[in-house]
């Protein structure tokens, strides 16, 4: 069969070690070349799509009635986090920022918004790699679970409430998946803590050099 056919019709050079090395090496080279080409041609489009996703999520967690500025481009950095400030006539009304936490199978990235009264406006998952059908119920499109964060506050006496029900907290876990909601609750709690620690800075409006540059660009 095929084995005997190969031995008869194969030229002798194909049996040399060198040919095998060249073949694997050549395929690896071809694969890397294809991947580099694929990466360079999709990188910018993917970044663009990701920015659109973030904007979409931002507009979901920060209602348009709370701001009159361009949320996506009006941001500054604090403690390694990018802060999106929502302002109404130069008064800060809410802030949004990303939080991340390892879930069941990879990092879950979320965006959350807190208003000036320290109330959680909402949470949305930007990206994750959780198990389809089990851990993906935190997507707003699939389940209402993520809305259960809305209006929640973190104070000194309700720390224990910030956990899933299995751990004695107030948030439901999913059927068959506890690790994912546990990770999300943990990340959002850390985000609330971050807000409490930096409340002063987060709620003050300081037109930094970045926004000055972007204003110049818009004018020019």
């Amino acid at each position: 069969m095929s084995l005997s056919k190969t031995t008869v019709t194969t030229p002798s050079y194909r049996q040399r070690i060198g040919y095998h090395g060249m073949l694997v090496g050549g395929t690896a080279l071809l694969a890397s070349a294809l991947l580099v080409m694929g990466n360079t041609s999709t990188k910018h489009v993917i970044a663009q799509r990701h920015a659109e996703d973030v904007q979409q999520m931002l507009s979901e967690v920060v209602p348009p009635t709370l701001h009159d500025n361009d949320l996506l481009h009006d941001k500054f950095e604090l403690d390694g986090k990018e802060i999106y400030q929502a302002r109404l006539e130069n008064e800060v009304s809410a802030v949004a920022f990303q939080v991340a936490e390892p879930g069941y199978s990879g990092i879950i990235t979320m965006i959350m918004a807190v208003n000036k009264d320290s109330k959680l406006l909402g949470v949305r998952v930007v990206s994750h790699t959780e198990t389809p059908g089990l851990g993906d119920k935190m997507e707003a499109a699939r389940s209402d679970w993520v809305y259960s964060f809305e209006g929640k506050q973190l104070s000194d006496d309700n720390h224990k409430q910030w956990a899933v029900k299995k751990d004695g907290g107030q948030f439901d876990q999913f059927t068959g998946a506890t690790i994912t909601p546990r990770a999300i609750v943990k990340a959002v709690k850390a985000g609330m803590q971050f807000f409490a620690n930096h409340k002063q800075r987060l709620l003050s409006y300081e037109p930094g050099p970045e926004s000055a540059i972007s204003e110049v660009k818009e004018n020019g």
Partner: protein, 232 residues
Amino acid sequence: MADVKMKTIMRDGIWNNNVVFAQMLALCPLLAVTSTATNGLGMGIASLAVMIASSLVVSIMRDFITKEVRLPVFVLLIATIVTLVDMSMNAWLHEMHKVLGLFIPLIVTNCAILGRVESFASHQPVGKAVADGFFMGIGFTVALVAVGATREMLGSGTLFANAALLLGDAFAFMELTVIPEYGGFLLMILPPGAFIALGFILAGKRVIDARISRDEDNDLPIIPTPAEGHSH
């Protein structure tokens, strides 16, 4: 082996030599994603695309690949194709990628693709290799949807939940609630449920196969086919 009829390729791919029901391959992604019929369909479509593409590439390169190093070469090619599919879907079919994206890395763990490339595409002409990839992919999709539908109906009482997210709003009619006010049966959603459902489906296929072969025995006696002439 050298001359396989298209009809045989089709029948093998979908029924006789089905990736899951006959070859018992690709059980890892099967167990992982078939908690609903929609997820099974999503995984099936993504695997189908990769199966066709890898069969095509390996069949084109079949004359250069020697048997000593074929496996690393196949693995490299399949991994490259999966990564390229992932990247281009993320860029140009972004909405679909949000839904199917989770399944794509799982395709690399699908030994069925390597298996078909190794046993079929690496010594068949391009057209037949692509047809084999297509029908094997369809067979795999059928298996995933069958197991997914069984588990979903018994586990959560619905069928094709969230199909509109995967296929677009036009397919919202597929979302059915089979058993209203159903409390849910967690076991079927968890991996053991996949084993149980798969076991019953496999037994069902055996019963059908046995019936078919009995009918054939009655209709026309099997004439032993003369062994094909030795290839030189």
